[in-house]
């Protein structure tokens, strides 16, 4: 373990940093965050190391950091932007498996589910056309499952099986949870631990994951927010602390 100073950052703030980092170096693409922590992260990235990112007001307007409109993005244009690939979305997941298949549709048998959730939404089009990362605020074996009940977001195994049209633009850069950061940098493109947030042990991550995770020998801590980043998060981007409602401080 590589220890690093935690300063006074909370777990939620480490999660914000980890989410912000998924958009580093993406260029002029739409950062599409779903959930409070990714939203704070996207705005932090836009205000600091990724000024070229595009952000929306959550409705149909592309806005700058101060909320000034710089573009129009109603749903139909948003879907075109998805298929054109100039977007990196951070979606949620009710279930996520080792190859990055994601489910937000239903739990149990699809014909008559035990729990009906949202539906597939845009997960199939997202995963085949633009970069898709995931955010899981409560890492547990109920979310990180061996196999998802309904493949909404397409994972590496299913994309490969579906052929070159499916893999052509398929990319799942990272998964961020309240425990750590993960990617798919293994030979079979299954999930791998990249970093743990300070205060989290590798054993705890293993216990909270319902499949065998690849764990390299040396796992660093998620990087510490700088004082300037902490000030932006707390005073400028999220003064009402929406992040603390998703991840307890």
């Amino acid at each position: 373990m590589t220890a690093s100073a935690t300063g006074s950052a909370t777990r939620a703030e480490y999660c914000v940093i980890a989410c912000a980092e998924v958009w580093r170096g993406n260029g002029e693409v739409l950062a599409a965050p779903m959930g409070a922590v990714p939203s704070v992260g996207a705005r932090l990235a836009r205000l600091t190391f990724a000024p070229e990112l595009l952000l929306t007001d959550g409705e149909a307007t592309i806005v700058g950091p101060d909320g000034e409109a710089e573009g129009w993005l109603p749903y139909r244009r948003h879907l075109t932007l998805v298929t054109g690939g100039r977007r990196h979305v951070m979606m949620g997941a009710s279930q996520l498996d080792r190859f990055g298949n994601q489910n937000i549709s239903c739990i149990g048998d699809w014909e008559q589910p035990a729990r009906q959730l949202l539906g597939v939404r845009g997960a199939p089009v997202n995963t085949l056309n633009n970069a898709v990362s995931y955010w899981v605020p409560r890492h547990s074996p109920r979310v990180f499952v061996e196999r998802v009940d309904m493949v909404c977001g397409v994972g590496h195994d299913n994309a490969r099986a579906a052929g070159p049209s499916a893999t052509r633009f398929h990319r799942i850069p990272q998964v961020v949870s309240d425990l750590g950061v993960f990617d798919f940098g293994t030979p079979d493109r299954s999930m791998r631990l990249v970093s743990v947030h300070p205060g989290v042990t590798v054993d705890r991550v293993r216990e909270a994951t319902g499949f065998a995770l690849t764990v390299p020998a040396d796992i660093p801590y998620t990087r510490t927010p700088t004082p300037a980043e902490l000030r932006l998060i707390r005073e400028v981007i999220d003064p009402s602390a929406t992040r603390d409602r998703e991840v307890r401080p």
Binding site: P74, V120, L128, A159, A166, R168
Partner: protein, 296 residues
Amino acid sequence: MTDRPAARDKTMTPEEVVARLESGMTIGIGGWGSRRKPMALVRALLRSPVTDLTVISYGGPDIGLLAAGGRIARLVTAFVTLDSIPLEPHYRAARQRGAFTLTEIDEAMFMWGLHAAANRLPFLPVRAGLGSDVMRVNPGLRTVTSPYEDGEELVAMPALRMDAALVHLNRADRLGNGQYLGPDPYFDDLFCEAAETAYVSCERLVETAELTKGGTAPQTLLVQRHSVTGVVETPGGAHFTSCVPDHPRDEPFQKAYAAAAADPAAWAEFSARFLPPDGDEKSYRQAVRTWHEEQK
């Protein structure tokens, strides 16, 4: 005195719209989630005997209410949500008891299905769907191979053709020209163009000249009269969904709806109060006003 013939006045009441719908039809409903849904027309539909419907919708409380009323035989959707309340309780309950057949497709597949229907094409090729369980749960979906050098295999998304479309807009004239004044057109024009008949309810019926008065941009004129069969003036006709800038979503009322929907006894009370079989849109609005007074 002008010698120009008058264009056809297409105004009608919600009841007259519903009288043109028949059991077994395929009905498209515009809006998105809990936004600009033609709720007055849905409420009128619930007071009619029309049932056994195939409904095509980016689903919100329109689907919740029709599911609770047992009117849906098949639903074509990518999601059903109340937005500020993520899960629609009536829809959840209906799915969990297997109340109707579901055609679950992706949001973009849905859009291309509308485009195909509006363009009188049997299908449009899309990448979305490949590798996902959308292909498993819709065994009728086929793929096509590009005839060009790339040879890509893509999903052939079938046209979402419908017998009737119901949409709600901010303004309309008597001829069927419909205008949205909010930030997002959703897909309402495509719904109208993809349907054999289309009915536009609006917050306010105005003279044609008034639609662009004061410099209002002509590109707000989303729906054109050639694709509209009937126009209904229903102030608050999207209630309780949002219809900005005329009104936001009625969040307290939506909350009360969702709470009632989660419990059969509470729902019986709620529907008796707000959606009685002998009611109309006027009595609905009065019941909502009284309810808001009580909440103060």
